[in-house]
Symmetry: C2
Subunit: 240 residues, 2 copies
DNA sequence: CGTACATTTGAAAATGGTCAATCACAGTGG
DNA sequence: CCACTGTGATTGACCATTTTCAAATGTACG
């Protein structure tokens, strides 16, 4: 059965860069064809918004490459970033009415989007996918709870050190999540303001911490949007 | 087929107080009998520990009544409470190796526990249950992300007001989650220290905020472990 | 009735936020 | 090619809030 949409090759999913790490990893090739038929690739420019907070939840997606942010507006107009989404991560709110956060691309990105109704139906019909989604959601919950620690108990220096270390791991070229091959030089996908929004700090505090870590020789800042980790273990000590 | 364990009546699940709200709500009576056969009730005393952080994840459970806390130890010995668990909530980490947090009863509690391996197998065989669990996990993730806002962006007064309002809703007698029938008088299941651990504040700050809200007439404190909400809308304003 | 523990209160110190000024740099147009 | 401009980033001075440290006060329970 040939189910691919007109603008996609039939083996689109098979060739997908995040195939093995994303939630579709456990599907067989029939299921993959079917999933292929309800999804499509979408390219996002840096700064482009994919979902708006409070809107009807119309889309879900897999991230293929790029970094996106999940964020919400506070009463006083400040923004809080609820999380960052990296390649192979799942994004959106299946089985719900509204999107509880806005989604915006921090870098140019490619995502594999599904109309939510299609995705929900597919998931209900394919327990293996739903199981993968459950495992991923459970992991995401664990990760989010750990992030709570950072927000509530760490001081500015600890937050920044933790943030930089996590970035260097998540941005490692092969997506492998460990410190061994973490990037020592990487391009920051966030502005100072956005880093503040992630860490619950003001832009001034973020800037002061950058300056401090740089002057102490733990990091280098070749340019505003580039970071070099010079003393990883010292940085790990700061992250406590 | 009679599958109930020796120490449980056959219709144990059917009579469960949280039957409709918990993840088992969608099961038919055959499935329920089977679930019944792998689970058992367990009564916990206040302060009793059900799971230890970092241990092999051996148990999962549904909360029938009582309040439990999920918490983790920080490097400096402080505790951070990652979340509170109320009746009908699911608890534990299915499909994972280790329990990412400790679980302790804040009040006397009754839970319905399953050996994790049994539960995992049952879930994989019963997509309806797994679907319920997925929906619940997604909701819990949303809730946790909103809590991040509280931790990172609210001041002590806002945190306390938010905390008290949430408590009064979650402790409403019928488990109905809305402000209309929220409890105006309730017993606090947490010490000042534990409240601090939930909100990311010191015990002194918690105490000062209690004193302040009381002296301003928004709440009453008949005893250390009881709270009366006197001016709900004013309290809501403080929560921003 | 006394002891242990939780809570409250007070004063000092530290941390991060706010406000304001300056700096750096990319893009634009003369 | 270079000054100009706008945006984002940095820096400084001051201030508000919360933490820390210390002491006093309750309260429960043997």
């Amino acid at each position: 059965m040939e189910l691919s949409t007109s603008d996609l090759p039939a083996n689109f999913c098979q060739a997908c860069a995040v195939r093995n790490r994303a939630i579709c990893g456990d599907l067989d090739s029939n299921e993959l064809d079917l999933l292929n038929s309800i999804g499509r690739r979408r390219r996002l420019e840096q700064g482009e918004q994919l979902l708006w907070e409070g809107d009807e939840a119309v889309l879900v997606a897999n991230v293929i490459d790029g970094v996106l942010k999940l964020s919400t507006q506070l009463a006083d107009g400040k923004e809080q970033i609820l999380g960052l989404v990296y390649p192979s991560d799942f994004l959106g709110r299946p089985f719900g009415d509204t999107t509880p956060y806005g989604v915006e691309a921090l870098t140019d990105a490619n995502v594999c989007v599904f109309r939510r109704a299609d995705f929900d139906r597919f998931a209900r019909d394919h327990p293996r996918l739903e199981h993968k989604l459950l495992e991923r959601t459970l992991s995401e919950l664990d990760r989010t709870r750990r992030w709570m620690l950072l927000l509530s108990r760490m001081n500015a220096e600890q937050k920044m050190a933790t943030f930089l270390l996590e970035m260097s791991e998540r941005l490692a070229p092969d997506g492998c999540l460990n410190a061994v091959n973490a990037a020592s030089v990487f391009a920051l996908p966030l502005s100072r303001q956005q880093i503040g929004d992630v860490l619950g700090l003001t832009i001034e505090t973020v800037s002061r911490q950058f300056t401090k870590l740089k002057s102490e020789g733990l990091i280098g800042l070749p340019s505003r949007r580039e970071v070099t980790i010079l003393e990883r273990s010292a940085l790990e000590n700061r992250a406590v």
